[in-house]
């Protein structure tokens, strides 16, 4: 069920969504094993969303939200970070390594960074696979 290849990006439409669209416009689609899920704001992200992503076969989940002070609904990134932390604790209790869930702040103009973050995020999984 988990420890699969799939990485789920749970991202705020205003920041991560813009980045994903930007990458697509440049012809740089996300890798095949990355599933992009857009939510209206970091505030929409809760433990259930993150857990279900793992349940559906994701080996890793990256939560992306605007920087503090850049959220249209003010608290979105704070909520996303808090919920990611709680979900990580629950995952650890379930015996899933916490590093498989990562939270990142992102801005709409950071298309150059996201593909690199995804690659770095994937490194431990690649390392495990090659053992």
């Amino acid at each position: 069920m988990t420890e699969g290849n799939k990485i789920v990006l749970l991202g705020c439409a205003h920041s991560a969504g813009e980045v994903v669209a930007d990458l697509a416009a440049r012809g740089l689609a996300l890798p095949a094993h990355v599933e992009w899920v857009s939510v209206p704001c970091g505030s929409t992200i809760d433990e259930l969303l993150m857990l279900r992503a793992f349940e559906s076969g994701a080996g890793q989940v990256m939560v992306l939200a605007c920087y503090n002070g850049a959220c249209r609904s003010v608290d979105g990134s704070l909520w996303a970070e808090k919920r990611a932390r709680a979900a990580r604790a629950l995952l650890e209790e379930a015996g899933i390594a916490g590093w498989r869930l990562q939270f990142c702040n992102i801005a709409p103009n950071m298309a150059a960074d996201l593909p690199q973050w995804i690659e770095e995020f994937r490194e431990p999984v690649v390392a495990e696979e090659s053992k």
Partner: protein
């Protein structure tokens, strides 16, 4: 209201290693309000258990239900068939709900998912603190509406101990206010400080838990 908190997942999962069909039942009253056992937490629990048991019990089937109030047989009754069709019931209600289910369906195996803690109030969203210990003999009139049983770490009835400092209790100065500081301040404010001149005798604990499990009967409501 009753305030409870989710048990550590490994503790819950330990009882489910050979369960084939699990029914999680949530309660949408007290435990939902304290964000521990409502429909949302039932869904989170279902998902978490699938993940926790993925290696040891991957075939487990988990059904999720939530009902109005698990301490009422009428609300539990519609679950009868489903309870019979599952091996284990994981109740996300408070201890009362768990036991009601177990009494109502005595052949069912009912496990608790929560640790029921206290009767308390929300201070702000996400934070609840204890206010009532259910001692069975309320004396809030004597202490300006601040309970020395529930809020004083030592249940003192005649003033603070030496561990009261800057209005905080030495047991946990960051989180616990000194109840006697609160009582003093409140009685001053409402002009009833003279109540503290009355000596409160040792508490008769027979009306509380210490006297054994309690029952209250409204004779005029029972035919």
């Amino acid at each position: 209201m009753i305030v409870a908190k989710r048990k550590p997942l490994p503790e819950i999962a330990a009882n489910l290693q050979s369960t084939r069909k699990l029914l999680i039942v949530g309660c949408n009253t007290c435990v939902a309000i304290c964000l521990a056992g409502g429909e949302k937490e039932v869904a989170v629990m279902g998902s978490a258990l699938h993940l926790a048991l993925r290696n040891t019990n991957p075939a487990i089937v988990i059904t999720q239900r939530s009902i109005e109030r698990q301490c009422e047989e009428e609300f539990n009754a519609p679950l009868a068939e489903e309870i019979a069709a599952h091996d284990v019931v994981l109740s996300m209600a408070c201890g009362v709900g768990v036991q009601t289910l177990a009494e109502q369906f005595p052949s069912a195996i009912v496990y608790p998912a929560l640790n029921t803690a206290f009767m308390g109030r929300p201070e702000e969203r996400g934070i609840w603190s204890e206010r009532c210990a259910g001692c069975g003999n309320c004396v809030l009139d004597k202490f300006g509406g601040v309970c020395p049983i529930a809020r004083c770490s030592k249940n003192l009835l005649n003033g603070p101990c030496g561990g009261s400092e800057q209005g905080k209790c030495e047991v946990d100065p960051k989180n616990i206010d000194c109840a006697w500081q609160l009582i003093y301040d409140r009685l001053s404010r409402i002009g009833q400080l003279d109540r503290l001149l009355e000596v409160e005798p040792p508490k008769d604990w027979s009306t509380s838990r210490h006297g054994g499990p309690r029952k209250i009967v409204r004779e005029d409501m029972v035919l």
